[in-house]
Symmetry: C2
Subunit: 525 residues, 2 copies
Amino acid sequence: MSKKSLAILMRARMRPNDPTKFPHISQFPKEIPSNPQENRSRDRILLKSTQETGNSSDFSSSRRVYDVVCETMHSAISASKTGVLDITLNDFQEGYFSLSLEDREKLLLVLAKEYDVNREQVRELVKQYLGLENPASDDKEALASVFYRIERNLRHALKPTYEVLFERLNTHPGGLRFLCILRADLLSILTKENTPSLRTLDSYLKEKLGMWLSPATLELHQITWDDPASLLEKIVAYEAVHPISNLLDLKRRLGIGRRCFGYFHPSIPGEPLIFIEVALMETVAQTIQEVLWDNPPIPENQATCALFYSISSTQPGLAGINLGKFLIKRVITLVKKDMPHVSTFATLSPIPGFMQWLISKLSSQSRFAEDERGTQSNSPSSTFSEKILLPEEEQALMGLSDESSSSSNGMEVLLNLLSVKNCEWATSPRILPVLEPILMRLCARYLLQEKKRGKALDSVANFHLQNGAMVERINWTADRSEKGIHQSGGIMVNYVYRLENIEDYAQSYFESGKIHASPGIHSRL
Amino acid sequence: MSKKSLAILMRARMRPNDPTKFPHISQFPKEIPSNPQENRSRDRILLKSTQETGNSSDFSSSRRVYDVVCETMHSAISASKTGVLDITLNDFQEGYFSLSLEDREKLLLVLAKEYDVNREQVRELVKQYLGLENPASDDKEALASVFYRIERNLRHALKPTYEVLFERLNTHPGGLRFLCILRADLLSILTKENTPSLRTLDSYLKEKLGMWLSPATLELHQITWDDPASLLEKIVAYEAVHPISNLLDLKRRLGIGRRCFGYFHPSIPGEPLIFIEVALMETVAQTIQEVLWDNPPIPENQATCALFYSISSTQPGLAGINLGKFLIKRVITLVKKDMPHVSTFATLSPIPGFMQWLISKLSSQSRFAEDERGTQSNSPSSTFSEKILLPEEEQALMGLSDESSSSSNGMEVLLNLLSVKNCEWATSPRILPVLEPILMRLCARYLLQEKKRGKALDSVANFHLQNGAMVERINWTADRSEKGIHQSGGIMVNYVYRLENIEDYAQSYFESGKIHASPGIHSRL
């Protein structure tokens, strides 16, 4: 066995990430392995008996399972015995997985509300703190001591009680991973019901996870064909940008002219938290096809460009924690050191929000236009209306709509074309050349000018811009996959990282939302 | 190159730990490598010019270096540009190493006092919090929101400003290691001058380090002869219990019948934070000689006992952070899994404080005895006096002192014998048999009954007891090295970890200071 596999085996036991993907663990196992010498807690026995009473779809039974899990949670927080605690934490994790999302929500609400900050204690300390305003003593160091003491106590009192559960799970084998799943649940619950207590629970957990998964604790590892199959399998499962079709495809992505790097955490072994795929190219690639299908693109020593063509994070529960930033910076440093002849670091990125934005823009503007035609006046809606298309684009589109007389303007023609389910336009030699300049111009506008809270509306754009990249070029028919056409009309974008500008660009984007872009893309606007 | 060495190379660059051991870095390097494209900060230029002005022993020059380092520290805390920050943090680290311990103390005082909690802000928030006592609104969730918000703000306001420096260093390459050194300095300063502000700085840093080095972030790795020499060299350098005499000795400790495990952190690569040496034995060893010199002790498949004969931590700056506890627990699990025939987990441990305690006890009691002889009355001192020796021991010792008439009682005889510099008693066939029962009895008393704040007085005893071990047996002439005789009269102790009792024992020791011990050792009292 290789040293590395051994090292991986030597780490803490792991638990599969997504219980829905591993249905066998979303129920209690028939026999929970445990040390026979350890006393089984009452909860444990309760759990087992609950299981044995019959079908978990039975309401009173699932009610009972919920109660037991809730009680286990209580023990996990209040227990002082570290030994029993290990069993309790295992029970809690197993129990949690057996709950429906509805019951999980109930449980998390209990956690958020009943294990909150101890407000009595905070109030008491806060009063003491204010009492220090008129110090009786002139001794400065002595006074400082009192401040230090109360501040420390106040700091501890302000920690919600549920922090204990998070802390204990963090140091428990498999616990960090469990917390990622718990937060993923929390996020999905919050999309439906945004209660302040759950929001606070989430932001507290997010802060903790961000701390525990700080770059100082992450290890960069180059993933190769020599890695264990169990790891490679995860790469296939989690590749979110350009799905891996088969083993050959995977082997190609790990072979000559390519690199794959992952960030690993000691507590979540055998699985990267985030990974990035790199192709070594002669020039910045314009289409994903030339990246994915050429084998290898060019001899490695002729490469001048490292192209990041895919970044996938594996844990939905780590949303909002930017792991990729440090990953990209470290990979750039590493590749640069390894291959000094590589001078350009670029991406070939999807534009996941472009079509959605364009279609919704077109439909709202069509509605405004219709309203205006109806009222023949300056109705209030007109303040929101805008000219999306240039006069020549309007004309070209109307030229396409000869036969279908129902469309009264270019926006409607475009909307109709783009809304057809199987995206016929993308394969039509008549329509394609007409749409190209229009979609490319609108895409440049979408990337450079459409913002939300001062940041790029497109999530991938926002990711790279906050990391210090600039928008270099957009590429027509760069991704002809169904997904590519559907998301962005097949357009892809190259972001470029220039070492000398990364920090300045990140900073100005952070401070003022400034998006740096090449003259070429500016000229499209 | 092996995969592991590659993995180590791939990690962040490291900085030697103890600047006194690596004098070449305790001064600024002539040329600090940096990216020429990055702007050099004013501080950097200042630093360099300071260096070039001449001898650092010159007072005004070292004054100036101090000022620059202090200013760099300020930039490192207040800078918002992450790019410049990397350079600033490097400069701060380099600069800090160039300071004398005296200047470091001054700098740390500035850090503790001028970058403390923002009390104005805390007071403001505290007042707002108290203002919430009479809620105007009956809406519970809305009220909760306000509480959550102020509590979060208060939590952030209560963080001292110096936390920023700690956090930034933690995510900076080499920074975690630097923080360990900084805390080691802090601890050594505190032994001389225990000011509340420095104590608070230390306890805050300790808490942070404990969090960043939580077991979840540590990786257990078996250290073998196949590991890089740079790692093995560290093992030799840091082995604190039984010094490694030469390469052959090291090879034996990593060879058949032995194991060595270390805890590693991704940010401090190539060096364990703590490591443990294990010998596989047929029975629990009574002397360190049989552990260290037999080669190998027995065939591995005949082993029934895993003997932990040495645990060394490498970072003085991590004092008070119990890394060994989790290490022992994980090593036991690992060995058990690997070799099910091993059923006993024991230590052969030094008793570092025994002789020191005994000699100080004997001298204070001799003084009391003398006082009593002088006053011939119940002087106040007599309330502290106690019979250390049993009548038969008194007699046996007086029997030894025939020739030296100066000693008026057994305690004095014993004190004189033990105080002789070269420990003649330990090689004298006449004295040794007399001392054996006396020292063994007193040693059992020292281990089981002498406490400080309710915990075992002996630091190694306290370590194993808090981990859940019991005191099994003490062994006469178990360590005949000079150090062994000097520390504990050559006595060593076996602590035993029984899997089924570890948690209970740890808990009762934690709660009430109860020390579990075998009947054999109890009978010696």
